[in-house]
Amino acid sequence: MNSENKPPLQPIHPASTKKRLEERRRFLRSAILAAAALGIPLLGFTPMARGWAPLLRPPGALDEHDFLSSCIKCGQCVQVCPVQAIELGDIGHGFGIGVPYIDSRKQACDFSCDAVQCILACPTGALSYIKPLFLPVRKGAAVISPPILLAKEKDAEPTLNLKERTGLAVLVRPDACLARQGKGFKGAARGNDFKGRMRFTEVDRWKPIPLKDHPFDVPLCDLCVRTCPIKGAISLQEEVGKDGVKRMTPTVHEPCVGCGVCEMVCPPEPAAIVIEARKTWENVPS
């Protein structure tokens, strides 16, 4: 090979080459930054993708997907709740970060505000009395008639202006249920260290008190029935088991809105009765 046939060497401009190289690096960096800034928040899908059990949302919450999209994550609902039942989701909740939920076992919504303050406080309609028309109502999520709040049963307007339930109470551990064992209950429902509060109209209609300050003494445990704030949502029914033994069993009825008071007061640990969020009433007359 003859070296004279080679094209003449290009003059080298270290400065401009360096600049071009830096430009290219910067472009690459920028592309990576854009991809990261876009990819990382998409990890918010993880909780849904893993099929996590839905959380119990405050009353009046739209269906889960609509709720997450319409909630502006401001926590105004948290601020107005008289029993501070509402908490906000953390980063582990994915797109549910900053979105309100209720841990009923810790502190249930007992409707002690009467007017469902969280709905009134919500600026975006994520919690709402009236669902926008274009959103469908899931069968069995709608309550047949407006639920009557026992605390204001004698008022001119005794109902909670709620059209849909947020979940349903379910006796998931029937064997743990004291009533089914024929046992009574005496003392503070959840012990003296429990911090949850609720309103007892016979004590003070407007001021919730700590649950531990309202001890019970009942020959047959019916705490879930006697503390339920909604009329006709739960009762003790005699049930004959496969073994032929009659047992008094807490039975949930259609008016149940899924507030969670029964779960909060249920004495055994873990609770015999819990709220299944987003569960619908199955025997809906069509």
Partner: protein, 321 residues
Amino acid sequence: MSKYTESLMVMLGREPQKPEKISAAAQQIHELKRVEKIDWVAHKEHARAHRNQGQPWRNRRWAFLIVVNLLFTLSFWLDIQILEGALTASRLLGFHLIDFNSALQVMLAHKHIIINLVIGTGTVVVLWFVFGGRTFCSWICPYHFVAEFAEKLHMHLVDKKLVTDHTFHRGVRTLLWFLFAALAWFTGYTVFETISPTGILSRALIYGPGLALAWVALLLAFEIFYSRRGWCRYVCPIGLTYGFVGVFSPVRVKYDLNRCFHEGDCRKVCEVPHVLEIVKKGRASDVILDTGADCTRCGACVDVCPSGALKFDVQGLSKLM
């Protein structure tokens, strides 16, 4: 090109360009500045002798930012109910205030807008139109506040040659703004809110800390060790949203070519130095100019300018007074 189009383009990511035309008055000043070096230095020293000491605007800004964020916290903690909610949406004495960027995300994701959302967002847009768009960033945003300390640390490490500042193309922020909007629309989730340090910090201050603060810490580490003010400069769509609101804002930082000695101190302290390209020697197209839409009105340049060439100004009002 009008100055508004120019400031918008620069905000979206284009590099500032040399002016096509320089006014006669500005040209004259540029000429007059070509004096003997000894005279130039004498002038400069004279101007410096009269400069403001301290950082009055930073102090005012910090005080305001802390008071606003504290008002959120105390309204909940002490139940004084002055400013309820968080930065994404709140009520000031009962009046709805809703962050424009969060509102956009919700509107795009949910595709249904209720009247309170319109009222709250409208109020905020008018407010920041008057006070200068990205003023939100430097006078309200709690992430901006903590990022200022991260920036100090970053600059210190740069001085010690332990880290270098990695810059990005500013167009990334514009691209992400549109992509976040598209994601909200197509997924139906407010995707950006998942990582918004503004929302996360604001909620943490009010409702207590959570694991999400680890993400904020990660962002700060990114800014300390890798890229100066990386989040605010190249990513945050909230900044760009308010930038759009502030294109025609009367509150701005005004540049006076007459008083400028082109020392460049202002560009060193600025979060968005591209808006101060006009202070380079020979670049000003007119005698009086403003810094444009991307300026966060933080006042760092006003504080640092030794000769009073950069000042806060309210268009129209200053003339009246």
